[in-house]
Symmetry: C3
Subunit: 377 residues, 3 copies
Amino acid sequence: MGAGPVHDTLAALRLVDHHCHGVVTTGLDGPAFRSLLTEGADWPGISPFDSPVGVAVRRHCAPLLDLPRHAPAEEYLARRADLGAHEANRRFLAAAGTGLFCVDTGFTPQRLTTPGELAAMADAGAFEVVRLENVAEAVAAEGVEPGEYGERFRAAAERAVRRPGVVAVKSVAAYRTGFALDPARPSDAEVTAAAGPWLASGGRLADPVLVRHLLWTAVDLGLPLQLHTGFGDADIRMHRVDPTLLTDWLHLTAGTIPVLLLHCWPYQRQAAYLAAVFERVYVDVGLTLHYVGPARARAVLAEVLEITPFRKLLYSSDAYGVAEFYHLGALAFREGLSGLLQERVDADELSLSDALRIATWAGADNARQVYRFSATT
Amino acid sequence: MGAGPVHDTLAALRLVDHHCHGVVTTGLDGPAFRSLLTEGADWPGISPFDSPVGVAVRRHCAPLLDLPRHAPAEEYLARRADLGAHEANRRFLAAAGTGLFCVDTGFTPQRLTTPGELAAMADAGAFEVVRLENVAEAVAAEGVEPGEYGERFRAAAERAVRRPGVVAVKSVAAYRTGFALDPARPSDAEVTAAAGPWLASGGRLADPVLVRHLLWTAVDLGLPLQLHTGFGDADIRMHRVDPTLLTDWLHLTAGTIPVLLLHCWPYQRQAAYLAAVFERVYVDVGLTLHYVGPARARAVLAEVLEITPFRKLLYSSDAYGVAEFYHLGALAFREGLSGLLQERVDADELSLSDALRIATWAGADNARQVYRFSATT
Amino acid sequence: MGAGPVHDTLAALRLVDHHCHGVVTTGLDGPAFRSLLTEGADWPGISPFDSPVGVAVRRHCAPLLDLPRHAPAEEYLARRADLGAHEANRRFLAAAGTGLFCVDTGFTPQRLTTPGELAAMADAGAFEVVRLENVAEAVAAEGVEPGEYGERFRAAAERAVRRPGVVAVKSVAAYRTGFALDPARPSDAEVTAAAGPWLASGGRLADPVLVRHLLWTAVDLGLPLQLHTGFGDADIRMHRVDPTLLTDWLHLTAGTIPVLLLHCWPYQRQAAYLAAVFERVYVDVGLTLHYVGPARARAVLAEVLEITPFRKLLYSSDAYGVAEFYHLGALAFREGLSGLLQERVDADELSLSDALRIATWAGADNARQVYRFSATT
């Protein structure tokens, strides 16, 4: 664990976690917990505890459950069950030290906390991020003619984002088509032609024209757009989610909405490039940080910070399901960033006051600026 | 050189080298040795000794020939010639400390040791890996009608893998087409149509349909499949050998054979992603480790281990031709992995018992499990 | 800052900066200076000083203007204005310690020093690099029939490179089409067909056939070819400038001209691969080094040196506009490379004499060999 003034500043900072999900409020047995621990699955003979994230949970989360550091997985699961989900969640969320959450409410294969519930558990504030694919699919599920889809989706998205507490939209285009798309806004006729087969199929939105239409609708909505890029589960085609594939689209939409590239790994340098050359592009390495763990968080942050302007890096946990990830993500971010900055201060490559500014920007103020949070939120 | 309990455990561990080739048994003059030292060639004015691998040979191999560390290239070659190939090979193979070799017998532009000869030189066990492109090209060389090629190849591959000591198959699809292939199994008609021009050409197997057919035949064979990915000689088109290009194929074949991604650099993070989200995908950084040398082995291993489950990393040397690479690969693996793990133990990010388990898994037990070696092999 | 014999050798070495641009000789106000500081732009609220390169300027350039280390941006700009452009330029160029510059004279959106002026300011020698796109566009601007374009361009390029002091040509194909091109030399008919629409358009040269023709004309000219790869401004499509996309073209042109891959980041490992397997391919990480700054220069150099033969790495600053970049590029190179090499010497992975050879090769001698500078230049 680090030490020194940068460490102390980041340790004391109430983070703004600009992209995360809720937590499961019920108890989790071994298979359920292990499944939530990995972007893979709980395979026979290959426990998710035997991985970087599993080792990090045993090291950094076990003590919060009153267990010794590096407690065995079985003891961890037993103690967690004894304490109960509510108490475990409470402890990890308190340890995360997050002051504000932006909660993506659009991925709920199982029941998760609402933003309000999460905020109450963490004694923090919470805003909502609307996942646009869900809005589009809800419009389809309600029944709509192909020729009306474009306008109906736009109207539904407008309604969704005008609700109180909504501060951003999110797209998982990465999972649906990847980013090697025609960057141009599709015409109404193209949208109608593409909507026909999709609406008839009843499947999820994965048509390239409709994904483009969704991204352009985000531009019209005017709110910051969070984009999944890079690392995720097996549904990703990694070679199609390099964020630089979006360059033409970023040119066409320059000067409109902020675009926040989430996760990014292993394309963190490519994401940094975009943040360095496009005014409204921002990056984080959420999700990545708890999966690589504190042992590698500094290395990943060092790559993303090679050229990213210091007002362009944000913090997110991308925690989903288990409250451990709120704690681990925050810890890896604080330890990784403070280690990196303190090392540069020690080498006299960076002044201490600059290091403290950068830490506060990345941990909270950059998000406050992008999402226009008032000083008192 | 490292020290500490992880170092000692890895130093004492008899490695399983799950992918390597044989060694040249005759003496090697300067040009012949230098050519084997590089994935490039022995160019005028740019000696392969003046490269990371050349420096590593002079540092770590010279002492085994009774020379001082960092001996000049000329002295190295002269001493090697004096000792004779047999003695040099014996010394390097003994120093490698490998207990079991899986030998790819399919690349022999020059006469190499057989698996049995290699095992005898190293006082170790050896199994064989069948390179499927060789099987296909042998079928073509025997003469076959296009309509019979698919079945004849399958039958020949079945015969090849049923021989005693064969534990896996290998494909160099990376060298032939790269991985941006239609993932579907080709139909018999497609195979026949593609076989015609290929058989008429007399060339090597590089038709996309036939490469797909080969990969699907590997699935039918049921043995673990080793796939060259990433780094290799100038025949590689690096941008086409990113292993994530295989994602669709991995989805279609999920639940069948283990797939072992070899080398991987500079795509070690992409390979780690696949190992993290597909149950039967494994990775190594063989070949890479001796080319980057002990000075960078830890850095490369740190990247591949950012998210790779600890039961998914294997050791291989991919040594070819010169026995030095058996020693260097093993040394770079042991030093790199023990340095990385010990550092985490020292930082209390990892328990010592976990570090020792991970070291033993990666160095031997993971391969034993994938290839189903009995405890006594 | 480093210390030790490798550091001292590199500190004393007169560098050969094989790719750079001139400097602005007039005074620069805040917006003008900030714009030159970034590959992005001077955006409201996101000062280029709040970035890795900005921090490096305040740390390493402020003292040369008699300011304290880490001086605030406003003080830096004020002091620079007080001193005057001439004195500021003189100080940074002197501090760079460069003995020879190869100056790309083809990018002058504003008035820059000529090679001779730059050499005089730095008390150094200077050669010229001809940007081929400029030659082509000048031919078009003069008026030419489509059927004559190919020959007129070739003749103009021949004249341009036969001028005294020209040692190389440069292409920014990366900015125009990227490298996913048909590698074959286009026929005269293809060139004529492509020239028609381009000449009629009056735009910049970005037609794939004409870019291929330009690259093949470079081969005919016989001089070393510098190629922008990787990092640059927002005009780059990063996913199309991975230098391994050039592999087929490098095979077709093997044995002809030296090809020098510039910048490379984030594809420095891919560039290293090409340098390792193609006899006439060389790499540098110019531009990258001052943008990532001394804090990360060692890490980037470590990646490019993972497999690059030591006779294949060159130094360049790619400094443009502000003389600070000459100083920063040289400093980051010297500190990064000496830190990396000294660490290996200290670990006994490299002999001191080898480290000193490698430092001198990369800093000067490799460029001298590629460009055939005489010993006295």
